[in-house]
Structures are given as structure tokens and as C-alpha cells.
């Protein structure tokens, strides 16, 4: 005995009311915008100084080095890898470059190379570190976490070894320039970051090699099958990461007027926080540089507001952490998606 249900007319297929992919992804990108708006409002209420162009410029300039590291880390994370050693490169690259250039009397190594070499040397160190990380991780198949953690320690150790733990403050003019110059009324470092982020967003959004990074992070085997030279692309990414970290070190050196022995120390946590708050996934293949930039700005605003509000030193850290957690929940609520 069989039964037949009334045939429903061959109507249109079940409506697909779900948001389509890119739209959702874009939403996720903008997840932090409400948080930023809330922060700006709160800041303006707390102290009118907050909205002054001088203050905004300061906030932006203070975040430039962090933002370059976040740019580097975000690209590496999107490619499904990891680099902890960036924070040490921020210190070592300028320290080594400067030490090679300045006289021994100012804590240099004694080589006293021509001082115009400082910037190229600094970038070269960053490049070399990135390339070496890439070599160990990609060729020898070592864990990225552990290689770069080891490198984090080794590079910091090298810097202390080379400088004897001294700050270097007799800097060549070229090194000081970038961190201090003002172009068209804005600090040069803001321009540089802006331009690099624009390039990064364009490359990752609109160019084959940039998209390849997403593909690799999303599914390495599939990327390989699609003809992407996975190792070559990732090696480039590590090298770019090292270069960006060296550049960040250069900007920081210029801005602060010396290479501190602890320059960059402890930054990597903040770098990850900004990237992940900005929607870049630790699992690879997900997130955008725009989101990461929003993450950087959120952290910068929180810091600035806490300072302006004069929160007591005793509770400032707890409040800072709490605000980050709340910003995240906000982001979660607005996108409605679980994070990972």
C-alpha cells in the first residue's frame, strides 16, 4: 500500500534568503565600524580635545608602527601561517643597521660604514630574517609557531648581544628622517602606512598573487592543484613581512629618536590582537587588511581615550581589557557570525 502526497506545484526553488558570501564577508569587514563610532563618540564626550586635529594626528602617528606590523602579520595569517618574530625584527633591523654605521664610541660595532647605507641595511636585515623564517618553515617543514618563536628570542638576543643592551641614540639623519618628516601637513609615517595599506588592500583584493595568498590559506592542497606556486608565494609573504617589520622599526626609531634595546618588545600580542579583532582568522584564508586596519584604529582609540579620561593607573589595565572584550562582543553581535 502506498500513499501519494498532494503534489506541490513545481514552484520556484526554495528561496535563498541567506546573505550571499561577499556581502557577508564585507559585513564582517565592517564589523568594527560601530565600535569605532561608539569610541569616537565616547572620546568626544570625555574631552573635546579628542576631536582636535592634533590629537587625531597623534593617535594615527602613534599607531603607524603597529599598523605596519599588523599589515605584515595579517598577510601571513591570511596565508595560513604565523610570524611571531616580527616584534624582534622591529628592534634588530634598525639596531644592526645603525650599529654598522655609527662610530664605536656611540656603541657602534666599529665598521662605520657610510651612513646613507643605514636604511638599505635595515630593510636588508628585515628581508633576510623573513627569508630565513620562510626557509625553515617551508623547506624544512618546521612548525611556523616554533620557528618564529625561536627567532623571536634569537633576534632579540642578537640585538642585546650586538649593542650590549645599550640604546643607540647617535642616529644618522636618514634614519631620523622618516619618523619625523611632515609631508603636506601630515607626518610622513602616516602617509607611508596609508600608502602601504592601500597597496596591500589592492594586491590582496585585486591581483592574482594576492588572491593566491587567500587560496593558500584556505586550502593549501587545492591552491597547489590550481597551479599556485604555494611555497614561492608564501616565501614572498614572509619576506614582505620581514621588510614591513624592518620599516616599522625604522619609523619607530625615527619617531623616538633612538633604538631602544627593548624596541618592539611585547608588541606581538598587540599585533595579533589588532589583526584578530579586525577579523583576520588564525586559521588562514579569512579576513581583510581593511578589517585589520580597523583593529589597529580601535586599539589606538581605546588607549587615547583612557589617557584623556585620566583613568586611575590602578584600574587602567582591567578597563582596557574589558573594553577590548566588549568591542569584540559588539563585532560579534553586528555580524552575527561565530568567530574562529
Amino acid at each position: 500500500m502506498t500513499t501519494t502526497a498532494p503534489v506541490s506545484p513545481p514552484e520556484a526553488p526554495v528561496a535563498r534568503r541567506r546573505l550571499t558570501g561577499p556581502r557577508l564577508a564585507r559585513m564582517r569587514d565592517l564589523a568594527l565600524v560601530p565600535a569605532i563610532i561608539v569610541l569616537v563618540l565616547v572620546g568626544a564626550l570625555i574631552d573635546p580635545v579628542f576631536l582636535s586635529s592634533a590629537n587625531i594626528t597623534n593617535v594615527l602617528q602613534q599607531q603607524t608602527e603597529l599598523s605596519l606590523l599588523v599589515l605584515a602579520e595579517a598577510i601571513i595569517l591570511i596565508g595560513g601561517r604565523f610570524d611571531l618574530s616580527l616584534e624582534s625584527t622591529v628592534g634588530l633591523a634598525p639596531a644592526l643597521a645603525v650599529a654598522l654605521v655609527i662610530p664605536a664610541a656611540s656603541n657602534g660595532i666599529g665598521t662605520e660604514w657610510a651612513s646613507y647605507l643605514a636604511i638599505p641595511l635595515c630593510l636588508l636585515v628585515g628581508l633576510a630574517v623573513g627569508a630565513f623564517n620562510g626557509l625553515l618553515i617551508l623547506r624544512f617543514g618546521l612548525s611556523a609557531f616554533i620557528v618564529t618563536l625561536g627567532m623571536l628570542i634569537v633576534l632579540r638576543g642578537l640585538q642585546i648581544g650586538i649593542t650590549g643592551g645599550q640604546n643607540l641614540f647617535e642616529l644618522p639623519m636618514s634614519v631620523l628622517y622618516l619618523g619625523n618628516a611632515v609631508w603636506l601637513g601630515l607626518p610622513a609615517s602616516i602617509w607611508i602606512c596609508g600608502i602601504l595599506f592601500a597597496i596591500g588592500i589592492a594586491v590582496l583584493g585585486f591581483f592574482r598573487h594576492g588572491r593566491a595568498v587567500y587560496a593558500i590559506g584556505g586550502n593549501r592542497d587545492a591552491a597547489r592543484a590550481a597551479g599556485i606556486r604555494v611555497d614561492r608565494v608564501m616565501w614572498t609573504v614572509f619576506i614582505v613581512g620581514g621588510l614591513l617589520a624592518a620599516l616599522a622599526g625604522l619609523l619607530m626609531t625615527g619617531r623616538l629618536g633612538s633604538v631602544a634595546a627593548a624596541q618592539g618588545d611585547g608588541m606581538i600580542f598587540t599585533v595579533f590582537a589588532a589583526a584578530v579583532i579586525g577579523g583576520v582568522s588564525m586559521e588562514g584564508g579569512k579576513g581583510t587588511l581593511f578589517g585589520a586596519l580597523c583593529g589597529v584604529i580601535v586599539l589606538g582609540l581605546i588607549n587615547n581615550i583612557l589617557t584623556l579620561a585620566g583613568v586611575s593607573a590602578q584600574w587602567i589595565q582591567a578597563i582596557y581589557g574589558l573594553i577590548i572584550l566588549v568591542a569584540l562582543m559588539l563585532a560579534r553581535l553586528t555580524t552575527g557570525k561565530a568567530q574562529d
Partner: protein, 512 residues
């Protein structure tokens, strides 16, 4: 289609060079030999079938032919010229396109980008609008109804498969490999694929087609190569080798496949009852009574809601309204409740929900019965191994040992582990979703045999499947269309009835 078939080992000095030839390929993984001195050559313009049991080495041969893996010994040539260097991925991609057995869809990217991965643009920045339009046109051409802007991760298994096929076919290469493309497609989609393949063949494209459905081999292929235990066994025109001979070549034993024996179901109160079960857009008002020992098939086209229904029963989803009860008592929410009520589930996607790749076969198969393998929550390894070895034997799982990680198994054998897991709890109701996808003929038989013997011992079986061969084992078959059961076919249906009901064309003919 070409009728001229040439000796695979090659004796035709006069004949044009084969489109592809693999010579004496040996490939080892550790001490496992996946391919042992296998030689295959495929004449240009033919459609060549590669068959063999699970783990015979078919996919390994594919990865060697596409340059993803390098053979330990032997050479590959395309059109008489040696294959590109291993690092020259573009070179390989000009020679061969492939639908791999494992998904190469990148979930976080859009469908359009997946289709044009690494060729989004010929140079210069990517124009996303144009890319989506091109993707839309391509998908339409292949009859795939998905939004090119959607995230690939949001597609269901079948849609992903269609996207992969569309991608491979659109690459414009003269040689295309399809590794079990039909395992996850429903009948209409398969028909569309075959139509497409015939057009390509007519245009002189060479194809290597892998499937466990021998019927499909006879339908679209010109020649067939059989692999067994990593070795080449035969290469023949399909017309020259009968079904039984093919099975014998694959299995190495001349035992015929058994016919589906008729069975009777004793009258008894239902073991599983669904009443007005409804879930959002997926399915509406499902009523069903399943008697102990009864095997009920459920089929329908993509998005008919059949999978959601099965997943609801297994506890993976939660219905909006309606009730599910086993032997009269309501089933709670969640998998543990379903297990407790006696419902076992073989989920749809073995990679996603079926297996923990790093854990051993034994451990995967015994995951739900950890509490029975020792006192007070202890899992006694020896007891686990014993139980697992019994399963390996009963379900004919090809593995080095029960302790091997399940990730090292071939697709079909992995599927058997999932079934073993579902049956490990001795369920009163067994719910299966496409249980034989990617399973070889002989294993399919043993797998369905295991399901049948469970049913014979009183387990109610609900089998969601697109495969008519699976459904033939069922005592009745429900056809779903847009979330409703639109037809019920009792034993003795013919294929056309099912196809018609699935298409929603008519259901009158289905009732008796």
C-alpha cells in the same frame, strides 16, 4: 567517439602517440605500495575508464598524472612528449585538468573565484563584476544553479562537486580526469554531466573517468583499465568485457555479485514515528512510520530536504516543530539523545562529520561506544582493538591494521569505518545518508549486506540515497520534493518512476 583501440603496452609505431601514457609507474607511501609498475596509455579522443576496488591506487595514479605527486619510478608522457617538470605547475595545467576525489574547493572564497582560481585575470587587476558574470555564464552553461557571488563554503556537497566539475571542464585542456565525479551527484546531475562529457568527446577531448558504478562505465566510456592491489590488471574496450568479468578482474575472484534477495518485514508496531516534522525551509509536515526490520529509502533532488530530515533524526539538526519518537517515547534534542534513543547515523560528508582523520580506525569506529569498552570510563585498548578488528573483518575494511590512522585509508574504506561507527551502538534505527558514495562494487555489496543484516535483526533502516542500486534494497522508497514527501513507491518500482517523481514531473504513475 573512437573505435580504434590500441594496445595499452604500445606496439603501434604507426599509430599516433597516445594522448597520455604512464609507463611503469611505481609509487610508495612509506612501506605501502600504492602503485606497482602500472602502465596505462590513453588514445587521444577516447574516454577511458579506470576501475578498481577501494584502495586499488586509482586516485594515486590520478595525482601522478596531474603532477601533484611524483612517481618513485616510471614516466608520464603527454602526446608523446615527456611530462613537464614537477615544479612547472602551469605546464601540467596546460596538459591536464582534473576533478579530484577530495574537494579542492576553498570554502572562504566565492564560487566565482573558485571557478577561476589563479586565472582570475590575464594580467592587471581583477575585475570582480566581470569575473562574476563569467562565472555566472559558466555555471549556467553547466546547469549549476548557484549564485557565483556566494561563499563556496555555504554550498552543499553536491553543489561544490558541480562547481569543481564546471571548473575542470572549463579549463579548455584536451585531457580531463574525473575522479569519482558522480559519487555525490543525483541522477539528473549525472545525466547532465554525461551529456557534457559526450559533447567533449565528440570534440576530441580525451577523458579519464573513475567511478564505482560500472553502469556508468558502460554508458560513457570506450575503454577500461582495471587496477587491483596497486597493479595493472587489464585494459580492454568496454564492449569486450562483460560486467561480471569486470568485477572478477577488480576483485580477483570469479564470484558473481548477489542479486537483491526479496525480504519480508514482520508486522509490528513502528520503531520510529515522525509526526508533522517541520524545519524551516528544509522540509515540512513529514509523517512516517518505520517498522522494526523495515528498510525505507528516501530520495529526491538536491534541496529536496532529504538530508536535513535525516540529519534531524540523527540529532545534528533540530526540527522547528513536530515530533520524533522511537518505540513510542519521544527523542530528545542532540546526538547523544538520539544515540540513547537508539538512532545511529551515517552522516553525509565523511570528511566533515564522519571521521577524525588523525585517530585510528579502531578509535573512530568505537567513538560512540567508549563506555562499553571498559569499566568506569576506561577504554581498554585491547578490548577496543578486538572490537575494531571484528568490525574490520565484518565490513571488509581494507586497512593495514585497526591501529592505522583513518586518514591513510582510501575513500571507500573510510566510508565503511563511518558505517561501522554507526552500527557500533547496535541501533534500533539506522539512518544513512548516501552510504555508498565512493564505495566499490564489492564493498558496496558487503556494506549494504551489513545494513540488511542489521535490518534482519530488527533494526529499522532509513536510507537517504540518490543511488537506485541502494534504493533497490529498500522495502519502500519515499520521494521528496521541495521539502515534502510527494510519492511513496513500494517494492517493484522501476527506475523511470523514481526519476519522474524526483523531478516532480508526475507522481500518479508512482502510486499503485
Amino acid at each position: 567517439m573512437t573505435d580504434v583501440l590500441t594496445d595499452a603496452a604500445g606496439s603501434g609505431a604507426a599509430a599516433p602517440p597516445p594522448a597520455v601514457s604512464a609507463h611503469e609507474i611505481t609509487k610508495r607511501f612509506g612501506a605501502t605500495t600504492a602503485l606497482s609498475e602500472v602502465s596505462v596509455s590513453i588514445q587521444a579522443g577516447t574516454t577511458h575508464a579506470l576501475v578498481g576496488r577501494n584502495g586499488a591506487g586509482k586516485s594515486t595514479l590520478v595525482s601522478v598524472l596531474t603532477g601533484l605527486q611524483r612517481a618513485d619510478e616510471g614516466t608520464v608522457a603527454f602526446g608523446g612528449a615527456p611530462a613537464p617538470a614537477p615544479s612547472d605547475r602551469d605546464g601540467w595545467r596546460r596538459q591536464v585538468a582534473c576533478v579530484y576525489q577530495r574537494s579542492t574547493i576553498i570554502p572562504a572564497l566565492s564560487v566565482a573565484e573558485n571557478l577561476f582560481l589563479n586565472r582570475q585575470t590575464d594580467g592587471g587587476p581583477i575585475k570582480w563584476g566581470g569575473l562574476r558574470r563569467r562565472a555566472g555564464a559558466l555555471l549556467e552553461e553547466y546547469g549549476v544553479d548557484v549564485d557565483p557571488g556566494a561563499l563556496a563554503g555555504d554550498l552543499n556537497v553536491e553543489q561544490r562537486q558541480l562547481v569543481e566539475i564546471a571548473r575542470a571542464l572549463s579549463l579548455g585542456t584536451r585531457f580531463i580526469i574525473l575522479d569519482e565525479p558522480t559519487a555525490r551527484l543525483d541522477a539528473t546531475a549525472i545525466e547532465r554531466l554525461f551529456g557534457r562529457m559526450r559533447t567533449l568527446a565528440a570534440a576530441g577531448v580525451t577523458m579519464l573517468f573513475i567511478s564505482h558504478h560500472l553502469r556508468e562505465v558502460y554508458e560513457v566510456c570506450d575503454t577500461v583499465t582495471v587496477l587491483r592491489d596497486a597493479r595493472w590488471v587489464l585494459t580492454e574496450p568496454v564492449s569486450a568485457v562483460g560486467h561480471d568479468a569486470l568485477v572478477a578482474a577488480m576483485t580477483g575472484e570469479a564470484v558473481k555479485l548477489t542479486e537483491v534477495a526479496p525480504r519480508s518485514v514482520p508486522d509490528a508496531p513502528p520503531v520510529l514515528s515522525l509526526r508533522a516534522l517541520t524545519l524551516g525551509d528544509a522540509y515540512t509536515g513529514i509523517d512516517l512510520d518505520l517498522r522494526p526490520g523495515e528498510m525505507v529509502g528516501v530520495t529526491g533532488s538536491g534541496s529536496s530536504g532529504k538530508v536535513s530530515l535525516a540529519e534531524t533524526l540523527g540529532g545534528l539538526r533540530r526540527a522547528d516543530s513536530g515530533s520524533v519518537s522511537v518505540s513510542g517515547s519521544a527523542v530528545g534534542v542532540g546526538v547523544p539523545a538520539a544515540l540513547r534513543a537508539g538512532i545511529g547515523l551515517v552522516p553525509e560528508d565523511r570528511h566533515r562529520e564522519g571521521l577524525v582523520p588523525l585517530l585510528s580506525v579502531a578509535e573512530n569506529a568505537t567513538l560512540p561506544i567508549g563506555d562499553r569498552l571498559g569499566p568506569a570510563g576506561v577504554v581498554v585498548p585491547r578490548r577496543r582493538t578486538a572490537v575494531a578488528e571484528e568490525m574490520v573483518r565484518r565490513y571488509d575494511i581494507r586497512t593495514e591494521s585497526a591501529a592505522a590512522p583513518v586518514a591513510s585509508l582510501s575513500g571507500g574504506n573510510a566510508q565503511k569505518v563511518v558505517l561501522a561507527r554507526a552500527l557500533s551502538t547496535d541501533p534500533r534505527v539506522l539512518v544513512l545518508i548516501n552510504p555508498t558514495a565512493g564505495v566499490d562494487v564489492r564493498s558496496k555489496e558487503s556494506l549494504l549486506g551489513a545494513v540488511r543484516s542489521a535490518a534482519d535483526q530488527g533494526t529499522g533502516v532509513l536510507m537517504v540515497s540518490d543511488e537506485l542500486d541502494d534504493l533497490r534494497h529498500c522495502d519502500r522508497v519515499l520521494v521528496m520534493f521541495h521539502g515534502r514527501v510527494t510519492a511513496t513507491l513500494s517494492r517493484g518500482w522501476d527506475d523511470a518512476q523514481v526519476v519522474a517523481a524526483v523531478e516532480g514531473v508526475t507522481s500518479e504513475g508512482a502510486s499503485s
